[in-house]
């Protein structure tokens, strides 16, 4: 059982600032590329944005594509409700992210890095650009051709989706593209592109600094390493915590709850709601062959106590999705409107309680047919809330 749930363990890698990025960069780009890729693969680092794609594989695939131009993009469009970790990273340790981007550029043969910064994070732009100036100055000094620039988004949630982000970067309307082709072969301006979350890049810095083993030793099988959690809601100690992956939600609530925790939303509005009775069987990590439920997260952990109406919570999420859907594909655009109008109608007694089942089927269709992750994941919170708190939806 030790591999299944592990105790809540603090880790402290990301925010440690040894001011050694110049050394790390210089040392790392002198190592063979293949060695670095292998290091990354053996660390089993998975994307920290929430989707959990193996980072080493992503870099490897992109490095294998022959192309005159490649891009490294840092996805700092941190828009998921309840996450606020990336902005801390960019405030406190921006050099780790910049270094990681440059190393990635070295590995995949890219000579250009872009940070796509969330529109609402405009206040970060100045300090980030100051850091970039210093960084670009250093890379020039060591004759590493890898200028980085910041691009400010305009505030659409959907632009956190990687292909919508490319569209937005290209100056177009932020709408997700059809996949395939994937960014590894055809991303920004149709060139091969590595696009990683801010935190993912910060973790690669850890890996290149200490070696893969140090990272791999944290966490449990399939969910290696540590992760930043944005803890919010009904908790006496909201904030950002770096924890090893694999802890049970029970332990998490034990640590962060206010003693009256009714449910936890894992992974933000597009994640899952876990009711109290399932705390014990739920682990936080990527889906593996673990016993029980294992929930991935981009880091958002929202705690709700018994004073909260889960109907209101769901209503709030759906209103968010209804507005933040890009609107191009039918299941997402109309589906979100229907789900919201549907729960309202049930609540008002205009539709029978059994209409919730029709809506559950609809959310399943959205999951199966929507064009991108946004529409596909609306069903996560919808189904987990409606199924676990059905009576709150009706009465």
């Amino acid at each position: 059982m030790a591999e299944i749930h592990q105790l809540l363990k603090r880790a402290d890698f990301i925010f440690i600032n040894d001011n050694d990025w110049e050394n790390i960069l210089l040392k790392t780009i002198q190592r063979p590329k293949q060695e670095l890729i292998n290091e990354l693969i053996s660390s089993e680092l998975k994307g920290r944005g929430g989707a959990g794609f193996p980072t080493g594989l992503k870099w490897k695939l992109t490095s294998e594509v022959h192309s005159g131009k490649k891009y490294v993009i840092c996805n700092a469009d941190e828009g998921e409700p309840g996450t606020f970790k990336d902005r801390e990273i960019l405030t406190k340790v921006p050099y780790k992210v910049l270094t990681a981007m440059a190393v990635c550029g070295y590995i995949i043969d890219s000579d250009e890095g872009i940070i796509y910064l969330r529109g609402e994070y405009q206040f970060l732009q100045k300090s980030l650009e100051a850091a970039i100036n210093e960084f670009n100055y250093y890379t020039k000094k060591i004759a590493l051709n890898f200028p980085i620039q910041v691009f400010l988004g305009a505030g659409a949630y959907i632009c956190g989706e990687e292909t919508a982000l490319f569209e937005s970067l290209e100056g177009k309307r932020g709408e997700p593209r059809n996949k395939p082709p994937y960014p590894t072969t055809s991303g920004f301006r149709d060139h091969p592109t590595v696009i990683n979350n801010v935190e993912t890049l910060a973790h690669t810095y850890t890996i290149f600094k200490y070696g893969a083993k140090k990272f791999y030793d944290l966490g449990v099988q399939y969910s290696r390493g540590s992760k930043l959690f944005s803890v919010s809601g009904d908790t006496p100690k909201p904030g950002i915590y770096e924890l090893e992956l694999g802890m049970s939600l029970y332990d998490f609530v034990d640590e962060f709850g206010d003693g009256d925790t009714k449910a936890v939303q894992v992974g933000g509005a597009s994640g899952f709601l876990v009711p109290r009775k399932k705390f014990n069987e739920t682990a936080i990590g990527y889906q593996g062959k673990l016993v029980g439920i294992s929930l991935p997260t981009g880091g958002s952990m929202m705690l709700f106590n018994s004073s909260r109406s889960m109907y209101n919570v769901l209503d709030n999420y759906l209103e968010f999705f209804r507005e933040e859907s890009c609107g191009q594909c039918t299941p997402c655009r109309v589906g979100c409107q229907q789900l919201l109008a549907g729960i309202k109608a049930v609540k008002r007694g205009e539709r029978p309680a059994s209409y919730l089942d029709k809506l559950l089927k609809l959310s399943e269709t959205m999951q199966l047919t929507a064009k991108c992750g946004l529409g596909q994941s609306v069903a996560n919170s919808f189904a987990s809330i409606v199924e676990n708190f059905r009576e709150e939806m009706i009465y």
Partner: protein, 599 residues
């Protein structure tokens, strides 16, 4: 990198087949006669994959994939009609209907709507979902003289947006807002008559529902016909005769000229005449204008002679150049389009010859075009002292009238156009296809200059025919008549563009000096008028090719093939106009243009 095999083996609904790399599931399914429903997909424009109606199940994958946007991969086992697919597809159609104004019986596209036929196919009998469209406010934009845009019927497939951007490069229609408020909009949501829209109607041709339709003038025309005091003349454009049949049960590319004339007479028009006649007249005027400009440039060595001279038959193109290249308005031929020449003559020459007071004449035109509706409404088009063309019908509207009148089209005996303005040559007919005006002009101009026929087999200038975006050819003038000796050995560079994206290519080449054209033909619509915004729906490359073949067959079958041979054209110059580009011509047959804003 994955090695792309030339042949990929897949199965669709258990049927094994091999396809080339990059083939989409949708195209693969067509090969084995499996129909996958689509809405946002259209052969003329890029793949969007946003309606999700075409989703299919791929064994081993949890999620469904859009058949139009997913390339086949080796070993794929695809199901297009599994329970999972059916349930999802039905859900998606229901969702679209819940957001759609489903008042079908009162819709102009009733019976022709792709969403309606999908709903009927899947027997969507109940509306379980909440009727969202009743909870929202929608606007219906009636402002354009050509196109009605009704947002309550829009399913956001973005076909119109992609058409406007890719085929036409106009971008009058774009997507605005997001989520539930996402809509197809114009610049700052201005009405359609106030934006860069060229009224070409290509969006109307591709809209799957009734969200974009032509503004129809059917009732107005019926009223005029029924009024005994009025004399209603009708003209029919060259491309109508090769398109009309499609609306009335004929395969694409059927020539129904004689039956069309018979049907128009049965509808009650007092005189059935031919736009081809004024097409021939256009050649006389435009050809003379071109030769005059060449004389000024080459012989008189005048500076600032606007070359290349660009054709002015296509009202979509005219509005496009007014918006996008206002500095090149002098390059446009001052000739009116054949429709407007006809209109001006109907209430002057025709009225005089038939001894009818012009105020009693109602002039109707049947056009393959929605922009012609706008053109007829331009304020300067009152040369006769009245509005030159009163009503413009599209090919589709004429078909509706024929059906309303209870005419069994297929059983009609062929009839001839009425005289005076009903005679035409093959040169007038080919105005309906891209390159046609160029070819017709060359046939006449070359003969005027050299006294000999243009040296091509059967007079066919094949270099300007066909569906290539921008066609260029050079004609060398040899041994001209003494009057035209300055043209001896001159190489006349001609270019033909169709579709406004191609027009942009040609104009940019002119603008940056990489091309030295003398004569430029532009048609706003792909394939020329035969692919016009008023032509039967659907349209695609194959259909347009067949219509073009029909146009050239019509030309080949004409006893007279050159505009200057048209006896009625010769007669009108003798009896009425005097000479090409003469004073009366200038008054009636030529026009001016105005610069417009870029948005």
């Amino acid at each position: 990198m994955k090695i792309m095999a030339n042949s990929i083996n897949i199965t669709i609904n258990g049927i094994a087949l091999s396809v080339g790399a990059g083939t989409t599931i949708l195209d693969a399914a067509k090969k084995v006669n499996v129909v996958i429903p689509t809405l946002c997909n259209h052969q003329d424009i890029c793949v969007a994959g946003n309606c999700r109606v075409c989703v299919v199940e791929i064994a081993g994958q949890k999620r469904l994939s859009a058949a139009c946007a997913t390339p086949c991969e080796e070993g794929m086992d695809i199901l297009t009609n599994s329970l999972k697919v059916r349930n999802c597809r039905k859900h998606i159609i229901e969702l679209l209907l819940s957001e759609h104004n489903s008042d079908c019986t009162k819709c102009y596209k009733n019976g022709l709507c792709e969403l309606q036929s999908l709903a009927s196919e899947y027997k969507i009998m109940t509306q379980d979902f909440i009727e969202l469209f009743r909870m929202k406010r929608y606007t219906i934009d009636y402002y354009s003289p050509s196109i009605i845009k009704d947002d309550s019927k829009c399913i956001r497939c973005q076909r119109c947006v992609r058409t406007c951007a890719e085929l036409q490069g106009v971008n009058a229609l774009t997507v605005a807002h997001k989520g539930d408020k996402m809509k197809i909009s114009t610049f700052f949501d201005k009405p359609m008559n106030d934006v860069v829209c060229t009224n070409c109607g290509q969006c109307v041709n591709r809209c799957p529902t009734g969200a974009l339709v032509e503004k129809n003038y059917i009732e107005e025309v019926w009223e005029a016909i029924s009024d005994p005091k009025l004399h209603v003349v009708v003209q029919t454009a060259p491309a109508v005769r090769v398109g009309l049949g499609e609306e009335l049960g004929y395969p694409a590319g059927s020539r129904v000229t004689g039956k069309m004339v018979a049907a128009l007479k049965r509808l009650g028009f007092d005189s059935v005449l031919d736009t081809d006649f004024t097409a021939d007249l256009t050649i006389m005027e435009e050809g003379t204008e071109l030769l005059t400009r060449l004389r000024k440039a080459l012989k008189d060595k005048e500076e600032n002679v606007a070359l290349p001279m660009a054709t002015s038959c296509s009202p979509g193109w005219i509005k496009y150049i007014e918006h996008m290249y206002p500095e090149y308005l002098a390059n446009l031929s001052t000739c009116k389009s054949p429709q407007q020449m006809f209109g001006a003559l109907a209430k002057t020459y025709y009225a005089k010859a038939r001894n009818i007071e012009p105020e009693r004449i109602i002039s109707v035109s049947v056009m393959p075009c929605t922009a012609k509706k706008f053109e007829a409404a331009r304020p300067e088009m009152h040369a006769s002292g009245y509005r030159d063309v009163d009503y413009v019908l599209t090919t589709r509207e004429l078909a509706i009238m024929i059906k309303q009148a209870g005419i069994h089209f297929a059983h009609l005996d062929d009839m001839e156009f009425d005289r005076l303005m009903g005679e035409s040559t093959g040169a007038g007919v080919i105005f309906g296809a891209t390159g046609g005006v160029m070819e017709a002009a060359l046939r006449t101009a070359y003969e005027i200059v050299t006294g000999r026929e243009i040296p091509f087999k059967n007079l066919e200038v094949t270099a300007v025919r066909g569906m290539e975006g921008v066609k260029e050819t050079t004609i060398t003038i040899e041994k001209p008549l003494p009057e035209w000796s300055f043209l001896d050995g001159v190489q006349l560079n001609c270019a033909v563009a169709h579709g406004l994206t191609n027009a942009k290519l040609a104009m940019d080449a002119v603008k940056n000096g990489t091309a030295k054209f003398h004569f430029l033909e532009v048609m706003a619509c792909p394939g020329g008028c035969l692919g016009g915004g008023g032509q039967p729906i659907p349209t695609n490359a194959e259909i347009r090719k067949r219509r073009a073949a029909a146009i050239y067959a019509e030309d080949g079958g004409k006893p007279l093939r050159k505009s200057h041979q048209n006896p009625e054209v010769i007669k009108i110059y003798q009896d009425f106009l005097g000479k090409p580009n003469g004073e009366l011509s200038h008054h009636l047959l030529h026009t001016t243009y105005q610069p417009r804003e870029r948005f």
